[in-house]
């Protein structure tokens, strides 16, 4: 009997604790979804570009270009498979996969995404990417399962 009571009170304490912690967790996860969801970054590009096409994004990813000085395509460093780890063609440093499905922190930090679009579009295309191109590229990366 006593053991039963003890276990009941322990369970009650557990419920109370859960009741306290759950809303907190919900709050945190809502906040993380806001800061860390690749969709948020896509939405922001779509808001400027009007639309996004994953198919066009894939053509940009796989396309061969002559304008840049570092590489002729995105795939030169990121490989044919956005879910695979890549390697920088000049420094040979390993690069984590680009697709969020394979690398959770991808497309979760808007400033970082902008910085690397700026750099790498210049490296490959010899110019900055348009908002449309960024929207398409992001849509393609998110579409990968």
């Amino acid at each position: 009997m006593r053991a039963f009571e003890r276990s009941m009170s322990r369970r009650a304490a557990g419920v109370v604790r859960l009741a306290l912690v759950l809303p907190l967790m919900a709050l945190v996860s809502v906040d993380m979804a806001r800061a860390n969801d690749p969709r948020t970054i896509l939405d922001a590009y779509v808001a400027q570009a009007g639309s996004a096409s994953a198919a066009r994004g894939e053509r940009l990813y796989r396309g061969k270009f002559t304008g840049g000085r570092t590489a002729e395509s995105c795939t030169a460093c990121h490989t044919d498979n956005p879910k695979a780890a890549g390697q920088h063609v000049r420094t040979h440093k390993g690069i984590d996969p680009l697709a969020p499905v394979a690398q959770r922190d991808r497309f979760t930090d808007a400033a970082k995404v902008e910085k690397w679009f700026k750099r790498n579009c210049n490296d490959v295309l010899g110019r900055e990417c348009t908002v449309q191109e960024k929207a398409d590229f992001t849509a393609y990366m998110i579409s990968i399962r």
């Binding site: 570092t70 390697q87 420094t91 040979h92 390993g94």
Partner: protein, 178 residues
């Protein structure tokens, strides 16, 4: 019946055990050689801005004048435009100067690196300094061409804790042949 403090008793045994455990812990924690550990800038700025394309190099591999020159030429950094907003550029430069090979608090090894670089030179490549060549003269040439390595400046490919400035012998793993 009388016991003095110096015999084997529980207190001394406990102290001894504690001492041994402490020493073992200390040995386990100690880096392979203190000299092979180079201080890294604290915070995330340096790793984020200077560790994205290659290893975030420890500032202690070059003298402050080298870093000053590099941080003044970011628009053409080995052919790349790595320009930074002025506040970030200055913050990174400050860290680099603070931990450079010739800083007043530099370790023995850093001071030797600084001394090996002619006073009128401000080399930009760590991988071409005399110090680097001396440290790697036993690495066969074909190693550098292995796919996962590819370049002498790809420190992190072999020095698995390079991002923490740790270059000790025990923290080297050379990627296998392709």
């Amino acid at each position: 019946m009388e016991r003095t403090g110096s015999g084997i008793n529980w207190k001394n045994l406990a102290l001894l055990t504690l001492g041994v455990a402490g020493t073992l812990f200390w040995i386990a924690q100690a880096p392979a050689s203190d000299d092979a550990v180079f201080p890294m800038p604290s915070g995330r700025l340096y790793a984020a801005e200077c560790g994205g394309c290659h290893t975030a190099y420890a500032p202690g591999f070059l003298p402050a004048r080298s870093w000053r020159r590099m941080m003044n030429e970011l628009a053409d950094h080995f052919g790349e435009d790595v320009s930074l907003p002025e506040p970030e550029r200055l913050a990174i430069l400050k860290d680099l100067e603070l931990l450079a090979a010739d800083n007043p608090q530099a370790s023995q090894r850093m001071r030797r690196i600084a001394a090996s670089i002619p006073a009128n030179a401000a080399p930009q490549r760590i991988s071409e300094t005399a110090f680097f060549r001396f440290m790697h003269d036993e690495v066969p040439n074909h190693f550098w061409r292995r796919k996962k390595i590819g370049s002498k400046a790809n420190c992190g490919a072999c020095h698995i804790r390079a991002d923490q400035g740790r270059y000790g012998e025990r923290e080297v793993r050379i990627p296998p042949a392709d």
